[in-house]
Amino acid sequence: MPVNAVRIAWRITRLNFRAQLEYRSEFLMMIAIGAIWQVSVIVFATVLLTRFTGMGGWDSSDVLLIPATRMLAHGLFVLFLGRVHGLGRRIQEGVIDTYLVRPMPVHRQLQLSYFPTNAIGDLTVAVGLMAGALSRSDLDWTAGRISYLVVAVLGGLLLEAALFTAVACASLRFPAADYWGRWLEELLGTFGSYPLNVLPRAVGGLLTYGLPLAFVAYFPAAVLTGHGHDTGVPYWLAAASPLLGALAYLGSRRLWQFSLKHYTGVNG
């Protein structure tokens, strides 16, 4: 983006933030819901770890790294690229049609459409969980490991963005595809936080090759904690998860351009 575009984006974001403050109780509750939603994942994971020790052969401190990575990636996705989620409703309201006649890329307008208040809560809990996971970890956190973790979080962010962008592309043609977006969110939240080797091989395969959920946090965490050879996929593939996220996002943006060209509006 050129400097002028960055300045415009920053001004719009500030205005959006002030707009969110118009409904003060809703604003505070949105921060709370971001936090509460993530706490629910922690509660579930904690209960399972307490009752079923050695989940999938992983120590509880290692398991904790999976939801921490996923949650941090998710919080950053919500903050920077999350507006693609729920696009179907905006299409039904005809909002996209007005974006098309403005002198700014549609995707950028969409991302600047409102400030994601809930991301504040999401990220607060995610940072707390990551700090907790790192402090409980027995691993030697070398510069290499830390760099890989940072890249893994960014890769997870891009992979989640790619999946939701693909659903948004479908929404441009079928606004009801929004339904799939909500399901995707549920699946990522429920099954993205545990070692998938606890599931039968076929189900684990489905969440690896059918829906690449395992690449968001499970594989990077497995590589970091030394379980990379027991994931059921070649080690190099598990290690390349962040790269896959970047490639998937680039692919999804190409798909977005193609889908937008073929968008005909809600009235045909």
Binding site: A32, M55, A176, W180, V198, V203
Partner: protein
Amino acid sequence: MAAIHAWRAARVTPLGELHTPPRMTAALLRLTVQIVLVASLWHGLYQNTGTTAGLDRDQAVTYAVLAVLASRLRELDQYAGRDTVLQHMHFGTIIYWYLRPLKPQRYYALRAFGEQLYGLVWALGGYAVCLASGVVEPPKSAAVAGVFALSLLLGQWVLYYVMLVIDQLCFWTLRNGAAMLILIFAQNLLAGVYAPLWFFPDWFITLSTFLPFQATLSVPLSIYIGRIELSDAAVQLAIQAAWVLALALFTRLLWRRAARRVVSQGG
């Protein structure tokens, strides 16, 4: 005559669903995948464990799968039909609810009733398949099945009122998006959708007894799998009935107060 009008209002949402086959196909696929995943997860977790928190593997799997099926009972996307209280408040069309010959509270109740009946058909279909394929265990006796059915009915009744309170919140706050999300979270956690409440620490179980969410799902499912004995069921049913009564009176009060706040555009 009144019954015919009631039936017509109740079937609005289910008819909307029946006329959009892709939504139904998606719902079927989602339900199937969710059941397979949840059953697989609990089977996997119990691989090296016998009984934990008083639940063996079959009980835990049955509980988890029934929780998924029960979540279908009120899962219709009213938003797509543009008939949520939030949308009516946003677009100023809530006034039409007060201009019809049908009272808003009656219209709301009939729509919800239709939705829950439609959801029940899905849940029963799913239950029949799961039972036939051995994914869930049958109830221990006819008495257990009967008490479970009664408890589930009371639970859905409680859930209806809880959802209604959140919708009524719109009359005061204009928006209820965050409140609805908090409710869904509280419902999933405190009703035992994420994991049976029996797995949680004692203080958590005690805390949840003071809230209505446990009555919506945890109680009926615990009766079904035998974690609540029939001898203790009467107390639980009474608590559920008390919640129904308390929430009915509270929402009735809110409907009255809400009506005073509704103005047409421009006041």
